[in-house]
Subunit: 339 residues, 2 copies
């Protein structure tokens, strides 16, 4: 890295989808650190469908842009300031991409491709070569799945969202290979404990059964305790992104998309961890209410990974499901919960 | 299938890329058979960048369309007659897609997607649901590769062509899952013996070293005899397409793209087979001229497959490399060769 008074280590960061849960936490982390990979962050462009906010203590200039990523003019506008580092998080989520076919493709595929093509156009003079960290998902995989998915298992998504994410991964790889930018895709585990209100996502219960009881509310468990899943805390997810932003690109090689490490736990193990940390009263707020539809959906999901490449590249996950719960209590509840 | 005098079994077939080597042979086969899956072929729409020809004996009405598949209006025009069965072969080949980035994406990705979207628009009333057979390629795979690639090995292409083909596969799968059409993608092995003149494709020598000596010409072998590859004759490739067109779709399941069977042979085994069939004089026309660039390219290619799904679904390949050579002599040389 260049010396601190050299212009080269002033960094301009773009975050698309910066108002989402991960986006907000990422921007907060960038603001706290003020630097990334030895470079000072001097400028941040934050995009989302609503104007994203940066923390007031952010030590860099912030431009907040509210724009529809499906608008063909938007991706080029977002990168017009030639950001050095791009976190591309903007996406239509799984459920909406499934019900609104056109919108999912317009944002997740066309938007992503336009972003990549805008970077290509800017780089045509040979002086611009940004790094892009692309948020992909375990939705890249579809049943039948092995008990542990290794780094060479095929991407055969069973949703439009997963399809669009994998297409983004393929474009990322090809554009990187062509020298247009340095792309790294990270397939995020299910984020747990997801803060905020219970939502209707089929995966919502994995977080609901921890977050709601800790807040003194009842939570519904729609599946058996034997259901096994792959989790990462929001803090770990942000750690993955920060690591992907600074990692030696050469070490990644031609396969640019990585399965992230996580914590493998059955729902029963999740509940046991909650019991150890918070006690029986809290656990008693979980109400069993089997839902055949959710059981069927979850039955097609990844149960675990053997993410050797990511581990070798230095990505680290939470230590245990207990650690995930403690992180939630620390980061979201100020260290307290409703006993 | 419906009875012969029922309107339902009159079939309209569209072939995109019908003037290419595989396209021409497919149309010839359709003309010879006159029927497919118990239905009479009454109409064929043949497309390519130059007007494709059907054999004069074809027992169906032929519409020949010369049009650039990159033209946004073309895919919808090609399907406007609501073909029941589509063989989608139109593509920019590997070398050209690598040197002309925009053209490769315009035809292989955008053209394919527009074709699929045109079918979607036509099917909006719920009465149109065609079958589409999509020609994909072993270029879907990229090194490092196992000795035998199984049906669960990831698609990690190392070329723009491979990337575009895999994106087509993913779209085919998602559109099929959404009920827009019935799609089947077949990953063709290297076609050998490819008729015609030697070309500059890096894979050309696999065919050149058989075809040219049999025609009395010298051929250049740029790699070691230990190089191992996966071959199918043109006749087998057409057989795959015909089988994909009539196969029970339910049996395929959600993963719509299949590795095709083939013949695994080292270059040394290819030459041995030629010697057994045609003798030493013919083999002596192969001249060793090592080419480091071609060696490096070929080193990244698939050496073989374990195509269990395709075999279980009834796809069949040539019996041996000798059979591939005999097929070439029979189909292309009228049973004769230059001793």
């Amino acid at each position: 890295m260049a010396a601190a008074n050299n212009g080269e280590d002033c960094m301009h960061v773009l975050v698309t989808g910066a108002a989402g849960m991960i986006g907000r936490k990422l921007v907060e982390r960038l603001a706290e650190e003020g630097r990334i990979g030895g470079a000072e962050i001097t400028r941040a462009t934050l995009h989302d469908i609503v104007a994203p906010q940066a923390p007031s203590f952010a030590p860099f200039t912030v431009e907040s842009i509210a724009a529809d990523f499906a608008d063909p003019a938007v991706p080029a506008r977002l990168v017009s300031g030639k950001p050095d580092l791009i976190f591309h998080l903007a996406a239509i989520v799984s459920g909406e991409a499934e019900t609104d076919f056109d919108k999912g493709y317009a944002i997740n595929l066309d938007g992503t491709r336009r972003l990549f093509d805008a970077l290509r156009a800017l780089g045509d003079d040979g002086t611009y070569h940004p790094r892009i960290v692309y948020a992909s998902s375990v939705a890249a995989f579809g049943a039948p799945l092995p008990d542990l998915i290794d780094d060479e298992f095929l991407q055969a998504p069973l949703t439009s969202y997963g399809t669009q994410k994998v297409i983004g991964e393929l474009l990322l790889t090809d554009y990187t290979r062509k020298g247009i930018f340095t792309g790294i895709g990270i397939r995020l585990p299910t984020i747990c404990v997801r803060p905020g209100k219970p939502n209707k996502a089929a995966s919502g219960f994995f977080s609901n059964i921890i977050r709601e009881p800790l807040a003194g509310h009842e939570a519904v468990l729609p599946v058996d305790e034997s259901v096994t899943h792959w989790h990462a805390s929001p803090r770990s997810a942000i750690g993955f992104m920060m690591h992907a932003a600074t990692l030696d690109s050469e070490k990644i090689g031609p396969r640019r998309n990585l399965n992230m490490p996580g914590v493998r736990a059955t729902v029963g193990e999740q509940i046991e961890a909650l019991r150890r940390i918070a006690g029986e009263n809290v656990v008693a707020r979980i109400r069993r209410e089997p839902d055949e539809m959710i059981r069927a959906i979850v039955g097609n999901w990844a149960r675990g990974f053997s993410p050797k490449r990511a581990l070798a590249l230095g990505f680290t996950a939470d230590e245990s499901f207990e650690a995930i719960i403690r992180t939630h209590i620390e980061d979201e509840l100020g260290g307290e919960f409703v006993r």
